[in-house]
């Protein structure tokens, strides 16, 4: 009995030490994650401009969001951007990764760095730089178009014409993110077993068949990861349109994203309760889309 008691005491002492060691982490998590999370839930049911004054409005913030045309505009812009991210950016990234993976020369490292480097400078820098590229008449983009078409397109105002804002945003993001996603694919491609590819070649499989039946299944987990992460990243898009469109959201809100809508509501208009509600809607939206993507990829695998 006394032996069991001693063991219990040692276990209890160890537990106390365990709690002591995770206490700083727990404290920080409670203070900076759990508490704000709970506070944000509460805030979503109030209209407030700070701690001094607030009025309980029940579900009015959520009702407002779902009747606000700007919300639908921001969702549709974000969705369009996400679709382009997945269907343009990822094939391009994969293509570049395949090219780099196949090439076995000394320039491989240089190209890898060159393609990845746009990501290193960050979206703020890229946004400002591309706002100059897209300038009418004097910008690099219009000068190039005019040179190719014999003068047409010199005055295209990419960032001020509603239908051109999204293409400008997508082009900018392509430049920035293609290299980043390429690195994931390159890492995955380098892990495709060479003996499987050799065996397929011996069995008479051509390059496309090898890619379709060997490479693709091998890199599928990375592909799912990149698709999910790109979608989540697209739904969190903020700095790029904010800087590209010079702290606005484009004509007729054509560059307004969901996070932009949240930021504008909470920090430009000072409606913190509504901002919190938008944050929750965004959270559920991302959660639902990510879940759907994972389900779809599982069904496809099966």
């Amino acid at each position: 009995v006394s032996g069991a008691g001693t063991t219990d005491r040692i276990a209890a002492r160890r537990n106390r030490w365990g709690w002591a060691f995770i206490a700083p982490y727990l404290t920080l998590t409670v203070c900076f994650f759990i508490y704000p999370l709970v506070k944000a839930v509460v805030l979503a049911f109030y209209t407030t401009n700070g701690p001094q004054s607030r009025v309980f409005v029940g579900l009015a913030n959520f009702t407002w969001i779902f009747t606000d045309p700007a919300f639908y505009r921001s969702v549709s812009n974000t969705a369009i951007f996400a679709i382009f991210s997945v269907f343009l950016q990822l094939p391009l990234s994969l293509g570049l990764a395949l090219l780099l993976n196949a090439k076995r020369d000394r320039l491989k490292g240089f190209f890898r760095l060159a393609l990845f480097s746009p990501h290193l400078v960050g979206p703020v820098f890229v946004g400002i730089m591309f706002s100059l590229f897209f300038a009418p008449r004097y910008g690099l983009v219009n000068q190039s178009i005019a040179a190719l078409t014999g003068g047409w397109g010199l005055d295209l105002n990419w960032l001020q014409i509603e239908h051109l804002v999204m293409p400008a945003l997508v082009l900018t993001s392509l430049w920035m993110y293609v290299g980043f996603n390429m690195i994931y694919f390159l890492a995955a491609l380098q892990n495709v077993p060479a003996d499987l590819l050799d065996a397929a070649q011996v069995d008479g499989a051509g390059p496309w068949q090898r890619f379709r039946h060997v490479t693709m299944p091998a890199i599928k987990p990375v592909m799912v990861f990149v698709v999910v992460m790109s979608t989540i990243g697209s739904f969190q898009l903020f700095e790029l349109p904010y800087t590209l469109l010079q702290q606005g959201w484009g004509p007729n809100e054509s560059g307004l994203t969901i996070v932009g809508y949240l930021y504008r509501t909470a920090f430009a208009d000072g409606d913190l309760g509504l901002g919190a509600a938008i944050g929750w809607v965004l959270t559920f939206l991302i959660f639902a889309i990510s879940l759907a993507q994972i389900r779809i990829s599982r069904v496809m695998r099966e």
Binding site: W17, T48, N49, V55, P136, R264, G270
Partner: protein
């Protein structure tokens, strides 16, 4: 003695303790640092910062100290210390928002861009984080001593929370050589009707490449700064003096239609080109792509710096009036100085505000460095305002700005201003599309029915703009009603 859980947990524990002690120590140091000063003053503008350092801080240079004729700095006059800090405008806005929301330390005195005042004066007046200066302003008769309209954008519901730093009257900058080549005399540009009539003759494809490459005026694609300049000049505004929405008023409809008709959508009526911002805008001006640029006082200094090579071939004129004899200027932007309510030294803070903003001799010296016209009328008597400026072809631009200053319109700001402005620019975008389509359906210009059809298209444009602005106004008013909830609940 051995630590019972082993060396690694012991190291973790020691690192944790060391980090905690370091954090507490740093916090104490920072606390001491801020306590060392009697006042904390923050500005976001580099030129202001450099000037303020000179007049606030006690000089350390013995040569300066030895000069008996020099004016004593604020620190010397009051025997206090002031921490003058420069913080980027966006960072200042967001840090101030965060500090006021969290109730943490804020500066005693700060300069703020007027466009941000709407955010800080939202909700019940008792919640505003800035000191209400209305009574001090009345006691010192500042509304008479300064340009009274400049208090509007720093006020909410009849209470004023800042003193204006500037007037920012707007003129039009041009190159005399380009105007002469285009056959335009500035004396003929008295009203906007004159401006448009002559402007139509200017739009030309001088190189024959199929693209017009000469326009009368910089007109941003969806209104941009031209929208607010013209709207305020006309006597309108996004927000009215009583805080209600102004975008459905006739003034707003007139200005939107004017911008649409004279933009790229306007066909033969076009006089404007969206010159963009920064480098592109200055290049457009240099190349003569646009003959006139909007030129508030702060912009004039920027123009001097960016197109210095044009010195002697640049001048400015007052804005054409909407009606003969009407106001010849507007305003664009503005800064104010505030005292935070949390400041424990309200009187000392007010003395600093007075010291920086109300001393004519300092203000004229500051004008000489920045071209920014101070709102204190007494300062305009200084000869510096009559000094011919070589860049401006010998024109005394200070006197022109000072003469226009009393005509600068009031600008009223709330958190709804942003929504109202965005909505109006959205209407301009859709109206341009509508009008361009409408003009496409007109008969040929030489057709006898053209004039009547064109007039009908203009009327349709007006109806379209009125309807669209009305629709947007309903949404904004819903949002404004949410803001009113807070104010009403506080009563």
């Amino acid at each position: 003695m051995r630590f019972p859980l082993g060396t690694a947990p012991l190291c973790l524990l020691l690192i944790g303790i060391a980090a905690g002690v370091a954090l507490l120590g740093l916090r104490a140091l920072r606390h001491q640092e801020t306590r060392r000063y009697d006042l904390e003053f923050v500005t976001f503008a580099e030129p202001h910062y450099q000037d303020y350092l000179k007049v606030i801080k006690r000089p350390t240079d013995p040569a300066i100290l030895a000069n008996p004729a020099r004016r004593r700095t604020f620190e010397e006059q009051h025997g206090v210390t002031v921490n003058v800090r420069l913080v980027d405008g966006r960072a200042l806005q967001s840090r101030l928002q965060a500090a006021m929301l969290a109730g943490t330390q804020v500066p005693d005195v700060l300069e703020i861009e007027a466009q941000n005042m709407g955010y800080f004066t939202k909700g019940p007046l008792a919640d505003v984080g800035f000191t209400d200066l209305t009574d001090r302003i009345a006691a010192e008769h500042l509304a008479e001593r300064m340009v009274a309209t400049r208090f509007a954008q720093l006020s909410s519901r009849g209470r004023t929370f800042a003193l204006p730093h500037d007037v920012h009257p707007v003129t039009l900058a041009y190159r005399p050589s380009r105007l002469a080549a285009a056959g335009i005399r500035v004396e003929d540009l008295k009203t906007w009707d004159d401006f448009v009539r002559l402007g139509r003759t200017v739009v030309t494809d001088t190189t024959g490449d199929g693209n017009p490459d000469r326009f009368m005026l910089d007109l941003p694609e969806n209104g941009g700064h031209a929208l607010e300049i013209l709207l305020h000049q006309k006597g309108g505004g996004f927000i009215k003096v009583d805080g209600s929405l102004g975008i459905t008023d006739d003034h707003a409809v007139d200005v939107v239609c004017w911008l649409v008709e004279h933009s790229v959508a306007g066909g033969p009526e076009r006089i404007g080109y969206p010159a963009g911002w920064g480098t592109a805008m200055f290049q457009s001006f240099k190349d003569g792509l646009v003959l006139f640029l909007w030129c508030p006082d702060w912009f004039s200094k920027w123009l001097e710096a960016e197109v210095g090579g044009l010195a002697g071939d640049v001048r400015m004129i007052p804005l054409p009036a909407w009606t003969p004899g009407g106001p010849r200027t507007s305003s664009w932007g503005g800064t104010g100085i505030c005292i935070t309510r949390a400041s424990p030294r309200q009187d000392l803070a007010w003395r600093l505000v007075e010291f920086l903003y109300l001393q004519p001799e300092d203000l004229s010296a500051r004008y000489a460095n920045t071209n920014i016209l101070p709102p204190v009328k007494a300062a305009w008597q200084d000869p510096v305002f009559d000094r011919p400026v070589a860049f401006w072809s010998g024109q005394a631009i200070g006197r022109l700005y000072a003469d226009l200053a009393p005509e600068t319109p009031p600008v009223h700001l709330t958190t709804a201003t942003r929504m109202a402005k965005d909505s109006t620019t959205q209407v301009i975008g859709s109206a341009k599309q509508y009008y361009a389509d409408r003009l496409d359906r007109l008969p040929r210009r030489d057709d006898p029915g053209w004039a009547a059809a064109h007039q009908a298209a203009r009327q349709d444009l007006r109806a379209f703009v009125t309807e669209e602005l009305g629709k947007r106004a309903i949404l904004i008013e819903r949002r404004m009603a949410r803001d009113r909830l807070l104010t009403e609940a506080a009563r």
